[in-house]
């Protein structure tokens, strides 16, 4: 009746084999990560120079030049995105955390989650139809709005989550002192969650900084400096895209350099944000 030793050994062996297999899955997943980082680092370092940060792109066929306008353009687009996306995201998040028990709030939460799953290119098409077509021009403003929309769900849900980490006793203490509810929320709750919300914003910026698809037909691209909101503007991701599919070696070189700059920006924001967020969550627990 009692099962044999060999059968037990076989079961243990299977268990060890599955463990090894699962570990192998982790290793396999890390192969592309390491490869991407090594290539971007290696090729990028070889390609990057001071010109890259200081000069405009050279006309087709000429060697040299840089992506100065694309770097500045990207920063400008991100600033616009924050201007548009942060108020909606943060105030919406405040609502969800403080008044979040209604059916309306549940609908908002669910829709925000769904919105974060909408492909970014679709957001680009939406903004094109809404802004570019009526205004008859690709523009920095449209690009900023597109990126802003993509930021909203991320900012909203992190804000909500971080405000909920503020202990209820703090709220009650303020309310008991006769402070009105709205001031309690702004002065006590929001102030306490401020650091956390800032990290949420960092993560949201990291998320949209590398977005290319929604900019293709909103901000478009520009070979020159542009500071008007109504004109097309260059951006790092779009420039990398254009250069990497073009048939010129020097453009490829610059695409690698651009990729290095972009990835340093995105990963440092992402890693710093995630570490800070994790620390905060652990402290609150």
């Amino acid at each position: 009746m009692i099962a044999s030793e060999s059968q037990l050994q076989r079961r243990q062996w299977l268990s060890h084999a599955m463990t090894a297999g699962a570990f192998l899955c982790v290793l396999l997943a890390l192969v592309p990560l390491v490869s991407v980082l090594v290539y971007i680092g290696g090729e990028g370092l070889r390609a990057i120079n001071l010109d890259f940060f200081l000069h405009l792109p050279k006309p087709v066929g000429e060697v040299g030049g840089g992506m100065a306008n694309a770097i500045v353009g990207s920063l400008e687009l991100l600033a616009l995105a924050c201007l548009f996306g942060l108020p909606v995201g943060i105030l919406g998040g405040v609502y969800l955390s403080e008044f979040g028990s209604s059916k309306f709030a549940t609908a908002v939460r669910f829709t925000a989650d769904v919105l974060s799953g909408v492909p970014s290119i679709v957001v680009g098409v939406f903004v094109f139809t809404l802004m570019v077509r009526p205004m008859h021009s690709f523009s920095a403003l449209a690009g900023g709005v597109a990126l802003g929309i993509l930021m909203i769900p991320v900012v909203m849900r992190t804000t909500e989550e971080l405000m909920r980490l503020v202990p209820g006793s703090l709220r009650e203490a303020a309310l008991a002192l006769g402070v009105p509810r709205w001031r309690t929320i702004l002065l006590v709750v929001l102030a306490n969650a401020r650091g956390g919300i800032l990290t949420g914003v960092m993560l949201a910026i990291a998320r949209v900084a590398g977005e290319t698809a929604p900019l293709l037909f909103t901000a478009l691209g520009n070979r020159f400096w542009s500071f008007s909101l109504k004109e097309p503007i260059s951006s790092l991701p779009v420039q990398i895209f254009t250069y990497s599919i073009a048939p010129y070696d020097d453009w490829h070189r610059q695409a690698w350099a651009g990729a290095l700059v972009l990835i340093l920006m995105v990963l440092s924001l992402n890693i710093a944000g995630r570490l800070a967020l994790r620390r905060r969550m652990e402290k609150a627990r």
């Binding site: 009746m1 009692i2 059968q7 037990l8």
Partner: protein
């Protein structure tokens, strides 16, 4: 009290003997916090031993060292020894998986596998050890009868385990443990989540099961300990205060602490 009538097949299910656990000089730590201090205890076949004590006294930990489930809590460390029929269960070469075949366990809250049917729940452990499936039906009926569940559930063997009442779920978990044919059954406050009627049924069941098993039951309900156990061990802050025949512990304990506890002066 009306006990369930004789249980068919129980004789064949009874292990040929054995199931004697001896705990010697057992110390246990969670990280730097010591939870057990030099426990010496014997658990004899065909006897029910109750472990009582205030919460946090280490009684659950003691129970979990006996099937090595304490290893699931990271940072746990042991010294001393526990033997099952003379074999050191914590010896380096001993396989926890094989040990748990001989030492079954029932938990505080019923934990049937919710996505499995009643039948699959009962046979879950059995199937791990037996590749031939021909006597499944027989095992199913026998263990469900042993857990006094057969009459209630024989027509709903394909319902999910989570659809039963709390008391039925707990007896299902007992059946699931019995199907592996253990020598020892560890029960960690098995009735704490149940109503009085279900509790009563489980206690009757314990009475039947001890005919063929070593039963160790952790409880913080002293009446329950008095009702079901033959021996009682009283633990406090990780130390064994007193152990002896249940009647003696509850009527004329040797230690003052024990008396205070069983008479409800603290805890």
């Amino acid at each position: 009290m009306n006990r369930p009538e004789t249980l068919p097949g129980r004789e064949t299910a009874a292990p040929a003997g054995g199931g004697r656990i001896e705990v010697r000089g057992l110390h246990a730590w969670f990280g730097t916090h010591q939870v057990l201090h030099g426990i010496d205890l014997d658990f004899s076949p065909r006897q029910v031993t109750a472990i009582i004590g205030p919460s946090g006294c280490g009684k659950s930990t003691l129970l979990r060292t006996m099937n090595r489930l304490h290893e699931e809590t990271p940072g746990t460390r042991l010294t001393g020894s526990i033997t099952l029929d003379g074999e050191d269960i914590h010896a380096p070469g001993t396989d926890a998986v094989r040990l748990r075949r001989d030492v079954g366990m029932v938990f505080q809250r019923p934990n049937p596998f919710p996505n499995m049917s009643v039948r699959d729940n009962v046979l879950a452990g059995f199937k791990l050890n037996h590749e031939k499936r021909k006597d499944e039906r027989e095992i199913l009926e026998r263990t469900l009868r042993s857990a006094a569940l057969w009459d209630e559930l024989k027509d709903m063997l394909h319902k999910p385990g989570s659809s039963l009442s709390g008391g039925q779920q707990q007896r299902l978990c007992i059946a699931r443990a019995l199907a592996v044919e253990p020598k020892v059954l560890l029960m960690d406050e098995p009735c704490s989540a149940l109503d009085p009627v279900s509790t009563n049924k489980i206690e009757e069941l314990i009475f039947e099961l001890k005919k063929s098993l070593t039963i160790v039951i952790v409880t913080h309900n002293m009446q329950q300990a008095a009702r079901v156990s033959d021996f009682t061990a009283f633990l406090m802050v990780g130390k064994l205060v007193e152990v002896g025949a249940t009647r003696k512990i509850f009527t004329s304990p040797e230690q003052r602490l024990t008396e205070d506890y069983v008479t409800g002066r603290f805890g």
